[in-house]
Amino acid sequence: MIPLAYELLLSAALFCIGLYGVLARRNAIIVLLSIEIMLNASILNFVAFSWGSGNPSGQVFALLGIAVAAAEAAVGLAVFLSIYQTHGSIDLDQIRFLKW
């Protein structure tokens, strides 16, 4: 039996570490990996509360969340590939197209 509060702390820590990766890194691939970590932190919460309350909807949403995260990783990588092809680098500090 794991006290649910500790698991929530773990998931909050993972979310914050992923958030650091998204905000502070320049390389687009590391940003993608950090988004995956954030999504997994929230899916961990779904599974833990599904265990705690006996409701299977949590695990259903975990499955759907895993599917969405994988699809988003694939499409994100395709976008980065096409950005690399047209601009030669995936450094997010240099990809600032929406200028006035």
Binding site: L44, A62, L63
Partner: protein, 181 residues
């Protein structure tokens, strides 16, 4: 010794996870970051086993240790000029990292205070079967998914299909420098 082995396993796995995720976000070499991501996600799967959800654990291994890191490593290789080329550029001023660490620590502090406060979290849990042939509660995952959430399953199928087609279209390069075929 009356050691709570499950809690000990949970503590060990959380240490691995936090260490792995920190190593992902501060790593300069991309393939190592992908490897640490695979390790972090597999330990999250092991925590799912501690929460008696083996089905989600196996799906996590299938997707997140077998498919997504391979995808990421393919993406790494297709976005660089030579094999061991690393994205360089070290800046001496670390102002951005420092501010982000402060902001993230503040956010974590707020969440921790609210989680450890006087909230009555559920204390014990039940194992949910994958499929429950009887119609009474507790219902299984498959019952709930295809009875109540069938529209969500169909939408996820459409999302995955369109994601695959869109990804292939975006990454297809018939002429260098032009997006799409």
């Amino acid at each position: 010794m009356d050691v709570d082995w499950e809690f000990l396993a949970f503590v060990v796995l959380s240490v691995f996870e936090i260490a792995g995720s920190i190593l992902v976000v501060i790593n300069k070499r991309l393939v190592r970051a992908a490897f640490w991501l695979a390790l972090t996600l597999v330990t999250i799967g092991a925590i799912y086993v501690l929460f008696l959800s083996e089905f989600i654990f196996i799906i996590q291994i299938l997707v997140y240790a077998g498919a997504v890191p391979v995808l990421v490593v393919f993406g790494i290789m297709l976005t660089r000029r030579r094999i061991m080329d690393e994205p360089g550029g070290g800046r001496v001023v670390m102002l951005r990292e420092f501010t982000v660490v402060l902001a993230v620590a503040a956010l974590f502090g707020m969440m921790a205070v609210s989680f450890l406060g006087p909230v009555a979290w559920p204390q014990s849990g039940v194992a949910i079967p994958v499929y429950d042939p009887s119609a009474t509660s507790p219902r299984g995952i498959a019952n709930s998914m295809f009875d109540s959430f069938s529209i969500a399953v169909i939408l996820i199928a459409i999302l995955l299909g369109s994601g695959m087609i869109g990804g292939v279209y975006l990454a297809k390069m018939d002429e260098p420098g032009k997006v799409g075929p």
